[in-house]
């Protein structure tokens, strides 16, 4: 197992190098750079001044030079400074990461806590009214765009209750109640799609598992139905669900960008969107690399979790 983990961690490096090349080139393939954005509308600016600004911002020189400079600095833990406000990128991300992580984790929690039981009920009570209701809910959940739901929730609570979530970010360690008020609607908004996916996946795998011989054997041995479902069937049905949940972390991080904007939470996605519009290269590069790293690490954790859920699976 340790060898497997070590191998996966070593694979992280070539993956990140590949990612860094793609991210670096992708942002430079976008038409225009920050100087174009900065000088938009200024009809008096000269080419010489544009070059001067590029030098001032440290984005002059050939692409290989810029890439080497960026990677060299990043290896030393220096992700550069934002071209827009000269704030260290690491400082901005330090504020943004907890916000995005909280939305994603809370969203995942809601999705699994609601989605798994719904899927189980739906499978166990197949073709009953509960099953139809769960499936309909799942269909709706998949169909609703998270940004639309977020907007609707916000307008609904403001119109009906005269309430909107507090805007300025409060850490859960400082004030858990205010923090929960802030994050419950964003987390709910991003969770609905994942919840529906989890519910449908649990239902499908549970239906398959419930028809297996060992489930029938367990029942024949006189084990209580509830215990058969929870201990024997559900545990085996969870493996594909865990895979999906791992994958959904990426989806949730993507959805979080728009949700953060709607709820005024300055998370990673908000910063990334702004950075893209502004061609803030250091910020885009660092954020994209961060998101890629999180995605890879989460999938590694999911791999490790397989062995915990099903001891028959070895990682050698």
């Amino acid at each position: 197992m340790y060898r497997h983990v070590a191998r996966r961690l070593l694979l992280l490096f070539p993956t990140l190098i590949g990612m860094s090349l793609i991210v670096f080139m992708a942002v430079r393939l976008l038409p225009g750079d920050i100087v174009d954005v900065l000088t938009a509308g200024d009809t008096t600016i000269t080419d010489q001044q544009r070059e001067q600004i590029r030098e001032q911002l440290g984005i002059s020189g050939s692409y290989p030079e810029q890439y080497a400079r960026w990677v060299g600095d990043a290896v030393r833990g220096d992700f550069g400074i934002s071209l827009r406000n000269t704030t260290p990128v690491s400082e901005t991300l330090g504020v943004a990461i907890p916000i995005t992580l909280e939305i994603v984790l809370l969203g995942l929690l809601i999705a699994t806590v609601v989605g798994v039981p719904l899927g189980v009920i739906s499978a166990v009570r197949r073709d009953s009214s509960r099953d139809y209701a769960s499936r309909l809910a799942g269909l709706i959940g998949i169909s609703i765009p998270s940004f639309w739901l977020a907007t609707l929730l916000l307008l609904f609570t403001s119109r009906i209750f005269g309430w909107v979530p507090p805007y300025s970010y409060v850490s859960p360690f400082d004030d858990p109640w205010t923090n929960l008020q802030q994050f419950i609607l964003p987390a709910l908004s991003v969770s609905v799609f994942t919840m529906a996916i989890v519910m449908r996946m649990v239902r499908a795998t549970m239906l398959e598992v419930l028809s297996q011989d060992y489930v029938r054997t367990a029942r024949a041995k006189g084990i209580a139905w509830r215990r058969v479902i929870l201990k024997h069937a559900l545990r085996n049905a969870l493996i594909p669900v865990v895979t999906i949940v791992g994958f959904e972390v990426g989806v949730l991080m993507g959805s979080a960008a728009i949700i953060e904007l709607i709820f005024g939470l300055p998370g990673v996605g908000w910063n990334l969107l702004q950075a893209i519009f502004n061609r803030d290269y250091p910020m885009i590069q660092a954020t994209a690399m961060l998101l890629a790293t999180i995605f890879i690490v989460v999938n590694l954790l999911v791999d490790l979790l397989y062995g915990v859920i099903d001891p028959r699976i070895t990682l050698e």
Binding site: L30, P31, G32, D33, V35, D36, V37, L38, T39, A40, G41, D42, T43, T44, I45, T46, D47, Q49, Q52, I53, Q56, R84, N85, T86, T87, T92, T151, L154, L155, T157, S158, R159, F161, G162, W163, V164, Y167, S168, Y169, L261, I262, F263, G264, P266, W270, N271, Q274, I276, F277, N278, R279
Partner: protein, 539 residues
């Protein structure tokens, strides 16, 4: 103090038109002698102002930084405008009046002496002196990070400054430059800071000014918090105890926050603002701003296109029905705009002139001009525009329909702002549906028609018009205000009849929704939230 009394007090401080002329103000006064349209919307301005309370305002964009010098974005200034003052300022009608300067004397065509008000103190208690002004001008001429030298196009031809005494500063111009006073009154790029401020703090996040509010905290992407500065030089102001600017980029979030009372006011698009009309507890403010939409062509060498023929450009101008654009895209909220937007002091052509002559919708004339240019069968062209805000694609669709009537097939290409800016800046387009914003001086709207401007060679290298060039050049150095007015009127007429290398379309109204207790707020023509300096709460 009653508002009338307050205005009277301000009027006493103002440089009157006669006084301006006496002083030889002549040198500029940018948008002085204001017209009556700008900043016309007031939020429940009646009654006696009350002290106290705090306003939370929803900002559409994060300031990114609040450094006093070299900020590019309008939102930079939104974040910092309450903290700083300049030597001069505009009132809500764009009249220039003294701010930190008591008066100025035009010594000769390239020398202006400013006498500073005495006893003005910065937020840190230090007295404002000529040394601080000199320091501020030096930083304006070469903005340190996070500012950018990209703003230097707005900087007047200031060669250097001299401290004549503790309260007297001399500005030496490298050449006569009529834009100086408008630049100072705009205050966007010309705030005054204490000497050595950049060595004392992080100007991206902190600041020391003389403005009505003292900065408490700026949290990027979140909020800017201000508290009342009790020693503000305009006695009795500000009325509010504090001001919080809350960053809410999403329009629906601002609406929800308004309804829930989480913010007291915010700017909204016309459709959203309309939903608040007639609702108890809210007021909808409307005003013109300097942002006008226009159609822009390139006329580049070695690549002749149908619109290189002036008759085709004139045909396009007369085939465009601006009133229909205003009705269909902006729900009737807009005005015809020439190259200088309506409301910009005395400088623009009148609505009457535009509607009945220079921008008259006249389809038969347009068709006739196309025929004269042997373009009856028309042509096809790509028009690029912004993908957001949504009025740009909508306006492009209306233009497309209107120009079909003279057989011009317009292919619309909506681009995200960065891409659009890059292509616009390099002249890599045929037609652009774009916009112009606020300028410190009327000359700012004409700078691109100056053949020595670098952009001219990218946009219009094939276009030659000696008269236009002469008028542009003379307008900038002409120090007599009356003569300037004549020059710019003539230039605008020429641009709309002979040149038409840009076809101005319409000026768009801006909407702000405030909750009822907010008084004396107005939509500023400059697109800033200047009204919050004078606002008060009637709880």
């Amino acid at each position: 103090m009653a508002e009338d009394a307050f205005l009277d007090e301000l009027a006493e401080q103002e440089l009157t038109r006669r006084r301006l002329l006496e002083l030889g103000a002549l040198v500029g006064a940018g948008a002085a002698f204001a017209g009556g349209v700008a900043g016309s919307a007031f939020g429940g301005g009646g009654g006696t102002p009350k002290r106290g309370g705090r306003i939370t305002w929803g900002l559409e964009a994060d300031p990114v930084h609040i450094a006093p010098f070299g900020g590019i974005l309008t939102s930079n200034h939104w974040g910092k405008e309450f903290m700083y003052d300049s030597l001069l300022e505009w009132d809500r009608n764009l009249n220039i009046r003294p701010a930190l300067a008591e008066k100025y004397d035009v010594v000769n065509k390239t020398t202006v002496d400013f006498t500073l008000k005495r006893g003005i103190r910065f937020h840190n208690g230090k007295e404002f002196t000529a040394a601080d002004a000199k320091y501020s001008f030096e930083l304006q001429s070469n903005p340190p990070a996070p500012g950018s030298i990209a703003v230097l196009g707005q900087f007047p031809k200031i060669a250097n400054t001299q401290v004549l005494s503790k309260y007297k500063l001399r500005i030496n111009l490298s050449q006569p430059d009529a834009t100086l006073f408008g630049y100072l009154a705009w205050s966007r790029y010309s705030p005054m800071v204490p000497e050595g401020m950049y060595q004392q703090l992080n100007p991206a996040r902190e600041g020391i000014g003389t403005g009505p509010f003292r900065l408490v905290n700026y949290t990027p992407n979140d909020r800017v918090e201000y508290n009342r500065y009790p020693n503000f030089w305009r006695k009795g102001q500000p009325y509010l105890d504090g001001l919080t600017l809350r960053v809410l980029p999403d329009e629906q979030a601002r609406i929800a926050a308004l309804r829930a009372g989480a913010v007291d006011g915010a700017s909204l698009l016309v459709d959203s603002a309309r939903a608040f009309r007639g609702q108890s507890g809210f007021q909808v403010l409307r005003g013109n701003t300097a942002a006008f939409r226009e159609l822009q062509f390139t006329l580049k060498e070695g690549n002749p296109k149908p619109w290189f023929d002036g008759r085709v450009r004139r045909a396009i101008n007369h085939a465009l029905n601006r009133q229909e654009m205003i009705q269909r895209v902006y729900d009737g909220n807009g005005a015809y705009s020439g190259h200088v937007p309506p409301g910009y002091g005395p400088w623009p052509l009148t609505q009457q002139e535009l509607k009945t002559k220079y921008e008259k919708f006249d389809l038969p004339l347009a068709k006739k001009l196309m025929a004269q240019a042997k373009q009856e069968r028309g042509f096809s062209v790509t028009m690029t525009t912004f993908s957001t805000p949504p009025d740009f694609p909508a306006l492009a669709s209306v233009i497309k329909q209107q120009l079909q009537q003279i057989n011009i097939e317009v292919n619309i290409e909506a681009q995200e702002p960065g891409t659009f800016a890059a292509r616009n800046g390099t002249g890599s387009f045929d037609w652009d549906l774009t916009m112009r914003g606020m300028r410190g001086d009327v000359n700012g709207y004409m700078a691109e028609f100056n053949p020595s401007a670098s952009i001219y060679s990218r946009w219009y290298p094939e276009y030659r018009n000696q008269k236009m060039w002469r008028l542009v050049g003379t307008g900038q150095i002409q120090l007599d205000q009356k003569k300037r007015l004549g020059i710019y009127k003539e230039l605008q007429k020429l641009l709309l009849t002979q040149a038409l290398i840009q076809v101005p379309l319409i000026a768009v109204s801006k909407f702000q929704v405030i909750r009822n207790p907010v008084k004396n707020m107005y939509v500023a023509f400059s697109d800033f939230n200047t009204g919050l300096r004078y606002a008060w709460l009637d709880r």
